[in-house]
Assembly symmetry: C2
Homo-oligomer: 246 residues x 2
């Protein structure tokens, strides 16, 4: 196993941080590592906003569902799918509009995500902890205003980076048979893998402080999805920001 794989396998989300500052040199290294990720046809339809201002971090923490760790750590990165950049480049030469569709929206989202994961790994290799903040999509319009995002740009997720002030356990994942399929999709592996994982997670949840005693992964999914649809505002928000999701 390579050292890098050991680093990848040791990943846990960190939700408690020290206030220790992050030197600009590290922010630059992390950003350059992010840009080194693959990007479809070199289109680079992504950006990242580095937020350090305490008031702005506080506002983003509230907008993301009161996630206090966004305030605790000195650095919060908001990852953007950015078609404004492509539109800007085109309009340096020609007065035409960027033709969009679901494919282009996805392409920008995927490229932003590949870059962000490189940033995560780079940060962890420097000894920092990280946590992704999907909650940035809770109030995307307010986030867009706060970060002065132009049309054709949306916040895909946030990423807290900082010095960890906790050491959480690794969380078990589904067994490989429910994830890695040989040649074709294996529904039997998925079913058997989920059943085995339900046993694993029953023990995990029962022995974890603050957790539900009598639950398991598949039951947690039911609880999550019975509470109504997630973020129903997202599609209308995206359309209001100029994305064409045809």
């Amino acid at each position: 196993m390579s050292e890098t794989i050991q680093l990848l396998r040791a990943h846990r989300s960190i939700r408690k941080y020290k206030a220790t500052p992050i030197p600009q040199e590290h922010v630059t290294e992390i950003a350059l590592a992010a840009q080194a990720a693959s990007t479809s046809s070199n289109i680079q339809a992504y950006s990242v906003v580095a937020v350090r201002n305490p008031e702005r971090k506080k506002a983003l923490a509230e907008l993301s569902g009161n996630q206090i760790h966004i305030e605790q750590s000195p650095l919060f990165l908001v990852w953007l799918a950015d078609l404004n950049k492509v539109r800007t480049a085109i309009r340096l030469h020609e007065d035409i509009e960027l033709q969009q569709n679901t494919e282009l929206f996805l392409l920008a989202t995927i490229d932003a995500t590949l870059a962000a994961q490189n940033a995560t790994i780079a940060a962890e290799s420097l000894g920092y902890g990280t946590v992704y903040i999907g909650g940035i999509r809770n109030n995307p319009q307010a986030v867009s205003e706060l970060l002065e995002l132009p049309p054709l740009v949306y916040p895909v997720f946030g990423l807290v980076i900082g010095v960890p002030d906790q050491e959480p356990d690794l969380r078990p994942r589904l067994p490989l048979q429910a994830f890695l399929h040989e040649e074709v999709y294996q529904q039997e592996g998925v079913v058997n893998g989920i059943k085995a994982y339900d046993e694993t997670t029953r023990t995990y949840y029962a022995t974890r402080a603050g957790g539900e005693a009598d639950t398991q992964w598949s039951k947690e999914l039911i609880r999550r999805f019975n509470g109504g649809k997630l973020r129903e505002h997202l599609q209308p928000y995206l359309i209001s920001r100029g994305f064409d999701l045809k």
Copy 2:
């Protein structure tokens, strides 16, 4: 700079491979590294299909726009956003349908992408080369049939992994000012960064074998996007596979 950051910064897409086999042990290591990536609320709505069968790889190479490197290398991974897994887990307990929307579709896509980037880095740390294949979305219905994908699953992209048989140059990226924004989105940095990058890429394209002599990044974008919309079939395909993109 950490060793891992050096690895990340050395990434280039490899489009020529040796036929050297990849031991199963490495495939397992790569898959476990992928699973170690963050996944929103531990939902794990992703899967990967490992394709090694030469006939199936050949078919996928053709469906992805005749990308011969998919056939050359012994391993082709197809990354799936997989809501079937979530639906399967829920229906072990209750006879209800998974409520979906754009948010859930995005969540699965993002999680599949985070996992895939971990796989890429793990593979590169073992000495392999990689290339993402967005072309898997050229003919997603045919790919779905070939890989026997159930409804609520779609191929986000492919990933070739293998022993490199070329050593391409690093491709320059946009300058940081057009990527990394301080506190709020900086349109001026984007414009200035694109102009600087256009000079860099003019030189890069002019000195590269087989490239257009007189072009630059922003002009390449115009050429790409003037050819009509990309993959117009994608949204109807996704709906036909049961995704609810409301």
